[in-house]
C-alpha cells in the first residue's frame, strides 16, 4: 500500500494502482474515453490529464501508477481547462447533429461536453465528411462520429480474440476499418457497438428505432446457450428493441454474443404460435384455450382410468398386454420452477417416470462421481469442486477437454481468453478439432475423433492408453510420445486447474476425468458444458427417467419416500424411458400419450409417421416437426415472457424477468396448472416464487441465499459436497449429446431469428446435425 494525496484527501491505495482507478475508487470522477478497465492502455484521448506535483506538465491518470507520497490534483482550473480543450478539439470534426444521432441521450461525448465542455464552439472550418458504411447486417460505421478511442479495436482483438477491426490511415484521416475492406467477417457479437462511446458504430437491429428515454429496461437471462449471460432488454410498447448489458451487472459483465444481443427477435416471428390448435382429421385448427385444455384433460383422464382399471385387472390375474402409459419429453429452456412442477405433474398426476429431456451434458454423472469420490486430499474436500464461470478468469490453468467454446459457449470462451490475457493462465487443450481457442493455448493435445477417454487414461498414468493417441490425427497434427509426455508433465505441475469438458466425456468417462483431476498436484475444479439456457436446471430438477430432483435415484425407496411424503402421492418405483426409447415406443404404438414441452424430439423425421400413433400433446413456440404430428398444440411463452429462475451450466442460479407478453400464449407453468386443474388434480404451488420455495426445501443444493438472485445477480447452487453420498450410482440411461449449435444457430429458436439467418457468417459454419 502507498499513501497518496488526491485533491487534498489522504488515500491509501495498492502499490501500482493507476491514478485513474485510485481517483474513481475514491469517488473522484476523472473522465476518459480510451481508458477502459480490462483493455490495454492507450493514453490517446487525453481526457484524464491531472496535475502531479513536481511533474512539469499534466499527466494522464490512466498511465501513471500511484507511488508513495504522490500529490495529485484533479480539481484545478488547469485540469478543467485541459478537459475543455480536449472536448473542443473532439467536437471540431464531429457532427453536431445530436438530435438526429442514434446515440443521442446515451452518448458519452454528449455527457462529457455537458459536464466538462465549453458552452460555445469556435470551430469555423468545414467538417471532414465520409459516407456512412454498413459493415454487416448488424454493424454500421459512421466515421465522422468516431473519436478514435480504439475501444472497439481492443475489445474485438483482446476480448473476443477475433481482431476484425483495425486502424487505417493517419492524422485526421485515421479511421477504424473492418477486416474485409468494405465489410466485416467476424462473430457479429456487437461488442464493438456497445463499447462505442459515441454514435460511430451502431446496431443494424436497433438504430433509429427509439430514443433511450422512451425505453424500459428489463434485465433477464439469455435463453440461447448454457452460459447464462445476463442480457438487459430494451423494451418499448411491449416490443424488445435491443439487448445489451451496459451496467455490467451480470456474471458476463458487458459480454454478449450475437445471440444474447440480437437473437431475441424470434419472439415476434410471424410463425410464432399464438392460439391453441387441435387436430381435426388431417388438419390442425385453431381453438380456444378452454377447448384445448379440456380436450387434453379429458383424454388424459380417460387414459388414466383405463390404466388403473388395467392394473386392477392384472392384479386380478387378467392377462392384457400393457402399454407404457404416459411419456413426457421436457425442455432445456423452461424455468427451474416449471421443470420441477412438470416432473411432479408427470410422476404424481400422470403416474409415470417416463420423463426425460434432450441431455446435452452428463451433469448426473459428474454430480455422482464427485459426491461418491472419497476425498483423497482433505484440502480438496473443503473446497467446492465445481467452478463458477468467473472462476475461470482467476485460475492459473485451464484444461479444456473437447467442445468448441468459441461457438458453443461464448462466455466460457471469453472468460478463458481473459484468463490467458490478463492473468497469464495456461490453457491446455485436448481436442479432435483445431478450435479457435488454440490461439490462446499453452499446450495442445490433438486427438483422433472419440479418443478423449484414451487421453484421460493416459493422463491418469496408463501409458498403454497413449499408444492409441500416437500418429497423425485427422486434423493433420502429429502426436508423438514426447508431446504426450510433455503435456502430462506440464499439467501435473499445475497447482490450480479448472477442467472444462463437453459431451465428449459422459457416463463412466466422467469418473475417469475426476480420477485424473484428483491426481493433479493442487486444487482441481470442474465445469461441464451443456447446451441450453436451462440444461443444468432440467437435470437438477429431475427431468430424468431414473433420477428425482437433486439426482436422487428413483429406484431408491428412501429417496422416493422423501418426495412421496411431501407430494402425498406414490411415485412409480422403477426408472422410466429415455427420449429415444419414448420416441421408438411411440412409433410402435406403445405410448398411450406423449406430452412434449418445449422440445422437438421428432426433428428431422416425418411428422406423418407419428400421426395417430399416440395422443400427442405439444407445448411450444413454433410449429416444428413434433407439433405438426400433434393432436393438440399449446402455444407457450418464451423465456423473455415469463418470470422464474434458471441454472446455467456452471450451476449459477439466476432470475428470469418478464420483458414482454405475447398475446395468446401462456407460460408453461400456467399450462401445467390449467391441465392439472382440468384433471381435478390441483398442482401446487403454481406461483414461481412458491415453486422455488418448495424446490429449496426438496433439493438441498438449491437452499441458498436468494438476495443476490432476486437483485439480479447470480448465486451458485451448492456443490455436491452438500450432498450426502448418494445411495446408488446412477444408471446411465439415454444418450447425452450436444446439438453442436454454432454462434449463429440455436436449435428451434435459431430457425426463427431473422438476425441469425441474416448474417453471412452463418453459412460458413457447419449446420448442426439433426439429432
Amino acid at each position: 500500500m502507498v499513501k497518496i494525496r488526491l485533491d487534498d484527501r489522504e488515500l491509501e491505495v495498492q502499490r501500482g494502482t493507476l491514478l485513474i482507478d485510485a481517483c474513481r475508487a475514491a469517488g473522484i470522477e476523472v473522465p476518459s474515453f480510451c481508458y477502459y478497465p480490462g483493455l490495454s492502455l492507450q493514453a490517446a484521448c487525453r481526457m484524464c490529464l491531472v496535475e502531479i506535483e513536481k511533474a512539469p506538465k499534466l499527466q494522464t491518470a490512466c498511465t501513471v501508477p500511484a507511488t508513495e507520497g504522490m500529490i495529485v490534483r484533479s480539481n484545478t482550473e488547469q485540469v478543467a481547462q485541459a478537459r475543455r480543450s480536449m472536448l473542443e478539439f473532439l467536437l471540431g470534426n464531429h457532427p453536431l447533429d445530436c438530435p438526429v444521432c442514434d446515440k443521442g441521450g446515451e452518448c458519452e461525448l454528449q455527457d462529457m461536453v455537458f459536464r466538462y465542455g465549453a458552452s460555445e464552439s469556435r470551430y469555423g472550418e468545414a467538417k471532414r465528411h465520409v459516407e456512412e458504411q454498413q459493415w454487416s447486417p448488424v454493424v454500421y460505421f459512421d466515421a465522422p462520429r468516431c473519436i478514435l478511442c480504439y475501444r472497439c479495436v481492443r475489445v474485438c482483438d483482446e476480448g473476443m480474440g477475433v481482431g476484425a477491426l483495425s486502424v487505417v490511415n493517419r492524422g485526421a484521416r485515421t479511421e477504424i476499418a473492418p477486416n474485409h475492406g468494405d465489410h466485416l467477417e467476424c462473430e457479429e457479437c456487437g461488442m464493438c457497438i456497445d463499447i462505442c462511446p459515441v454514435g460511430a458504430l451502431t446496431s443494424g437491429a436497433y438504430r433509429y428505432k427509439a430514443r433511450p428515454w422512451e425505453i424500459q429496461y428489463t434485465s433477464t437471462i439469455c435463453t440461447h446457450c448454457g452460459d447464462g449471460c445476463k442480457t438487459t432488454l430494451s423494451v418499448r410498447n411491449n416490443k424488445i428493441l435491443r439487448g445489451n448489458n451496459r451496467d455490467r451487472s451480470g456474471i458476463n459483465g458487458e459480454f454478449l454474443c450475437i445471440k444474447g444481443r440480437y437473437a431475441y427477435d424470434f419472439v415476434e416471428h410471424p410463425s410464432r404460435l399464438r392460439q391453441p390448435l387441435v387436430r381435426k382429421g388431417q388438419e390442425l385448427v385453431a381453438t380456444t384455450w378452454e377447448e384445448a385444455i379440456g380436450m387434453v384433460a379429458a383424454k388424459w383422464g380417460e387414459i388414466l382410468s383405463r390404466r388403473n382399471e388395467a392394473a386392477n385387472n392384472i392384479l386380478a390375474g387378467t392377462s392384457e398386454k400393457r402399454s407404457k402409459g404416459f411419456g413426457v419429453i421436457a425442455s432445456n429452456h423452461t424455468t427451474n420452477e416449471e421443470n420441477y412442477l412438470l416432473q411432479k405433474f408427470a410422476r404424481t398426476v400422470l403416474q409415470t417416470n417416463h420423463v426425460d429431456h434432450h441431455r446435452t451434458a452428463d451433469y448426473a454423472a459428474l454430480i455422482h462421481a464427485l459426491a461418491n469420490e472419497s476425498p483423497e486430499q482433505p484440502a480438496q474436500a473443503q473446497r467446492p469442486p465445481l467452478a463458477r464461470s468467473k472462476d475461470i478468469v482467476g485460475a492459473s490453468a485451464i484444461l479444456l477437454v473437447g467442445n468448441n467454446p468459441t461457438e458453443q459457449h461464448p462466455l466460457i470462451a471469453w472468460n478463458i481468453r481473459e484468463a490467458c490475457r490478463r492473468n497469464g493462465a495456461r490453457l491446455y487443450i485436448i481436442n479432435s478439432r483445431r478450435i479457435p481457442l488454440l490461439r490462446q493455448s499453452h499446450r495442445f493435445l490433438p486427438l483422433g475423433l472419440g479418443h478423449e477417454a484414451d487421453a484421460l487414461r493416459y493422463l491418469c498414468g496408463e501409458p498403454e492408453a497413449g499408444q492409441a493417441l500416437l500418429g497423425k490425427t485427422p486434423s493433420g497434427d502429429p502426436v508423438t510420445s514426447d508431446l504426450l509426455h510433455d503435456f502430462r508433465n506440464r499439467l501435473q505441475e499445475e497447482k490450480d486447474v479448472i477442467v472444462v469438458f463437453g459431451d465428449e466425456i459422459t457416463g463412466p468417462d466422467v469418473s475417469l476425468l475426476i480420477r485424473m483431476g484428483s491426481q493433479l498436484s493442487g486444487r482441481t475444479r470442474y465445469i461441464v458444458l451443456g447446451d441450453s439456457s436451462n440444461s443444468r436446471g432440467a437435470s437438477d430438477m429431475g427431468l430424468l427417467p431414473h433420477l428425482l430432483p437433486g439426482y436422487r435415484p428413483v429406484e431408491d425407496a428412501v429417496a422416493r419416500a422423501f418426495f412421496e411424503n411431501r407430494w402425498k402421492t406414490p411415485i412409480p418405483e422403477t426408472s422410466g424411458l429415455s427420449v429415444d426409447e419414448m420416441v421408438t415406443a411411440t412409433l410402435q404404438g406403445g405410448m398411450d400419450s406423449l406430452y412434449v414441452v418445449g422440445a422437438n424430439p421428432l426433428k428431422g423425421r416425418n411428422p406423418a409417421d407419428f400421426r395417430g400413433k399416440t395422443f400427442l400433446v405439444v407445448q411450444d413456440l413454433f410449429l416444428q416437426e413434433t407439433a405438426q404430428a400433434a393432436d393438440v398444440v399449446l402455444p407457450a411463452a418464451s423465456a423473455y415472457e415469463k418470470s422464474g429462475t434458471v441454472t446455467n451450466t456452471c450451476g449459477e442460479l439466476q432470475r428470469l424477468r418478464k420483458a414482454i407478453g405475447v398475446l395468446g400464449t401462456r407460460t408453461d407453468l400456467q399450462i401445467f396448472e390449467s391441465l392439472a386443474a382440468a384433471m381435478g388434480a390441483a398442482l401446487h404451488p403454481c406461483r414461481p416464487e412458491e415453486a422455488l420455495e418448495e424446490i429449496r426445501q426438496m433439493v438441498p443444493e438449491y437452499n441458498i441465499p436468494l438476495a443476490n438472485v432476486l437483485a439480479g445477480g447470480a448465486e451458485a447452487v451448492l456443490n455436491p459436497n452438500g450432498f450426502k453420498p448418494l445411495a446408488a450410482p446412477a444408471e446411465t440411461s439415454g444418450r447425452v449429446y450436444s446439438a453442436q449449435d454454432t454462434l449463429f444457430t440455436s436449435g428451434t429458436l435459431g430457425r426463427f431469428s431473422n438476425i441469425l439467418n441474416l448474417v453471412p457468417e452463418r453459412a460458413i459454419r457447419k449446420e448442426p446435425d439433426p439429432a
Binding site: G163, S166, V168, N169, R170, N179
Partner: protein, 159 residues
Amino acid sequence: MQFSAQLEDKLKKLMRNYPIKRSSLIPMLLFVQDEQGFLRKETIAEIAGRLELTIPQVEETISYYSMLRKKPAGKYHLQVCTNISCLLRGGEELFEHARKKLSLAPGETTPDKLFSLEEVECIGACAWAPAIQVNYQFHHELTPERFDQLIGELQRSRA
C-alpha cells in the same frame, strides 16, 4: 507468387536481419512496390502469408506510410517538395509549373503512364532547394527551365 530472382534474394536476406518476421514488413512492401509499381491485392496477401500476418495487419501498415501505394504511379514518379526550405526557394512555384507542364493534378498520371506528380513533405534536400525526387533520384536546385530540361531527358530516355 514469385518475385524476380533478384528480389527474392533480397527479401531472403532481409528476413534474416530480424528475430521476428513482422520486422521485414515495411522494407518488404517497399522493395516489392519498387519492382511491381504498386501493391496489388494479391501481393498484399502474398506478403501477409510470408510474414504470418493477417491481411488487415498489412493493410493498416500500408495505409500509414505515405510512400506505400495501392494504385499505380507513372514510370517516373515526380515528387516535388514544397516544405519550408523549398517553399522559400520557389518550391510551390515549381510545383505549379510541373502541374501545368504535365497537365496533371496531384496524384494523377499522364495518359502515356510516363509521369505522375505528387506534392511531398520535406525530402531532406533543404540546403539544395528547391528539390524534387524522381523515383528515388534527387534533383537539386531546380528552376522551371531545368525542370523542363529534366522532363525532356526523361521523355527521350523512354524513346
